[in-house]
């Protein structure tokens, strides 16, 4: 335990800013999770592994001398096709089934991805250096890498584009209709199979963007996927499905929580704190709902 963070206010400011910038990234991943959960009613445990895969795409561009920031454009395109392929191979068989089946099946995919990435890219912790430099605030008391600001900006940009796309385009309307009532949408001529594939592809593409940004700002490692899944799940259950401002806000909240947990408990307990927070949130909601004799559905 270390309470330095309360004695020096500037550390708190640093933690808050770091947390908010990190949280915007989490919110982007969580948005993808909310999308597929709402539309297809599946929970994708492999979400975090898709993020890491996107990160490796950017990292490889960096290795071959291309600036990793271009990964923000390349990774979603590749990941879209990975997502659609995954849907055609596995996910389409679990869409109508029990939610536990989808959890277990995607857990299998997650293990598979983890190990394949471990073979292909090695078990080292890597990062793609963007060379963006750092910004110093408040007489150098707060240090912000420019890459973090860049990644937050790009995430917001992608989120806004996606929201507009979902509102205006034909496919976006079809996706929203399927989310409301898949059967009615089918009767009215929406090819739900195609919509599901596109939804999963868009989710994977969002993961790709987030992964590319994570590889620039933080580090990636083949086994780091599961915490991202848990974070996005947590954000979605706190915010609720289809509540975009809520997703953004709870994402930032989670980011700030993590930074403070990092300072106070120490880095080795960071992931543990995230998972414990998930348990606490679920238990809190359970007690809140049980007062009205309801339960989480």
């Amino acid at each position: 335990m270390d309470f330095m963070v309360f004695q020096y206010p500037m550390i708190s400011v640093q933690a808050c800013l770091d947390g908010v910038l990190l949280g915007i990234l989490f919110a982007l991943i969580a948005y993808g999770m909310a999308l597929q959960w709402g539309v297809m009613n599946i929970i994708n445990i492999a979400q975090g592994d898709l993020v890491i895969l996107g990160g490796y795409i950017a990292y490889f561009m960096y290795l071959y001398g291309i600036h990793p920031a271009w990964g923000v454009i390349v990774a979603p395109i590749i990941m879209y096709f990975v997502g659609v392929g995954l849907y055609k191979l596995v996910i389409n068989k679990v869409v109508d089934r029990d939610l536990f089946i989808s959890i277990l099946a995607t857990f299998g995919i997650s293990i598979l991805f983890m190990q394949l990435m471990n073979f292909a890219f090695g078990a080292d912790v890597v990062l793609a250096n963007s060379g963006y430099g750092t910004t110093f605030l408040f007489e150098s008391a707060v240090v912000l890498p420019n890459s973090k600001i860049f990644s937050a900006f790009i995430s917001i940009l992608f989120a806004i584009c996606l929201v507009i796309y979902m509102k205006k385009s034909k496919l976006g309307r079809a996706i929203r209709a399927t989310a409301q009532n898949a059967r009615a949408a089918k009767i009215l001529g929406v090819d739900t199979e195609k919509v599901y594939a596109a939804t999963f592809g868009i989710n994977a593409a969002l993961c790709g963007v987030a992964g590319a940004l994570i590889s620039i700002t933080f580090t990636i490692h083949p086994y780091m996927g599961l915490p991202y899944t848990i974070r996005s799940f947590m954000i979605v259950i706190v915010a609720g499905l289809g509540n975009l401002p809520g997703v953004a806000l709870s994402g930032m909240g989670l980011g700030v929580f993590e930074e403070f947990a990092d300072y106070i408990l120490g880095t080795e307990f960071r992931i543990g704190a995230v998972f414990l927070l998930l348990v606490l949130i679920l238990v809190y909601r359970r007690f809140k709902l049980s007062r009205k004799r309801e339960y989480l559905k």
Partner: protein
């Protein structure tokens, strides 16, 4: 009944003579016994109660750490033991070792049961996938947190007391085999006894429709907690035995190993057929043979195989071996089949 008695006697005789018939496979057989115990306990939860948990690994790991800590802590200072790591500055005498093991196993079984009872009320109120994800979080959090605690070895691991010098490697293998075989017999008997009571029917009612069960006047929460506590008891016991068998405890790779053991128990129960008495036993045996084959001949690719196996079993084979047999030979399971109806169904297909 008579036929069953012969079957049980045959299995018992085989179990007792197995280490002498296959002396080279003693460790494998012990691990198989532990796996069967885990699959049986998972089945109480996932199969009969319908609460699919990823978190029973919590009790398994807890039991493992507790058994080893008690075994060391009864005679030597625990902190110095873990600090010395592999170097043995303290040596258990045989009497101390067996005493420690006995007390350790009792603690390893009882404490997780109490923990399950304490957290049960808050966690078992969650339903369906929220429960699944919450328990997944519990398991991972336990692993991450125990990896930061100094007194049980933190990141560098915890070496359990080595087997004392009585009879060498052979005796060690036999000791752990009979210990785990006893655990299997105990678990199977207990589970079988439970499944013949009203308690099992209540668990099935909770699985099929919890709201209705509650409306019928069953205090579902009470039974859910009892069910979880029974699971935790045997899980902790299995963990304690496994800790001694492996000889080394690491927080995320051995004890709270959600990626291996935590998934194995789910997979074994589903492969064998969840919601049946024999399913987990058969599933664990088949899975263990498959796993050992793969782990030996395709080293490095085992997780790829595991991932593919999970997807294939879950999507194409969710009923498991027992479920498949039941569909094929319903008469053997005591179901009355109308011959004409069956023919009509075959024609429909």
């Amino acid at each position: 009944m008579n036929k069953n008695l012969i079957l049980y006697a045959a299995i018992l005789v085989f179990g007792i003579t197995a280490p002498f018939i296959f002396p080279a496979f003693k460790v494998q057989l012990s691990i198989l016994c532990v796996l069967i115990v885990l699959a049986l306990t998972w089945n109480i939860q996932g199969g009969e109660m319908g609460y699919n948990t990823f978190g029973n690994i919590l009790f398994y790991g807890l039991g493992m750490y507790l058994c080893a800590s008690v075994q060391v802590g009864m005679f030597f200072p625990l902190a110095e033991w873990t600090e010395s790591g592999g170097e043995k500055t303290f040596v258990h005498t045989p009497a101390e070792f067996f005493q420690g093991m006995a007390v350790g196993l009792v603690v390893a079984a009882v404490v997780p049961t109490i923990v399950a009872g304490l957290i049960g009320y808050s966690i078992l109120g969650l339903r369906g996938h929220y429960f699944a994800i919450c328990t997944l979080g519990l398991g991972v959090a336990a692993g991450e947190i125990s990896g930061g605690i100094e007194i049980i070895g933190a990141g560098q691991g915890f070496t359990t007391p080595p087997f004392p010098d009585v009879g060498g490697l052979e005796a060690r293998g036999e000791f752990f085999y009979f210990l785990s075989f006893m655990a299997v017999v105990l678990t199977f008997t207990a589970v079988r006894a439970i499944y013949s009571t009203r308690f099992k029917l209540i668990l099935n009612a909770i699985r099929d429709n919890e709201d209705k069960a509650e409306a019928m006047g069953i205090q579902t929460m009470k039974y859910k907690i009892i069910g979880w506590m029974i699971s935790a008891f045997f899980c902790g016991l299995a963990g304690g035995i496994m800790g001694g068998l492996v000889g080394y405890i690491d927080s995320t790779d051995v004890a709270f190993d959600g990626r291996e053991m935590g998934v194995f128990m789910v997979l074994m129960a589903i492969l064998g057929g969840k919601g049946t008495l024999w399913g987990p036993v058969i599933g664990a045996t088949v899975f263990h043979i498959f796993k050992e084959g793969f782990w030996t001949f395709f080293l490095g690719w085992q997780y790829v195989a595991l991932g593919v196996l999970i997807v294939v079993i879950v999507i194409y084979f969710p009923e498991g071996i027992m479920g498949w047999l039941r569909e094929k030979y319903p008469e053997r399971f005591g179901e009355v089949v109308d011959e004409a109806d069956r023919k009509a169904q075959v024609e429909l297909k």
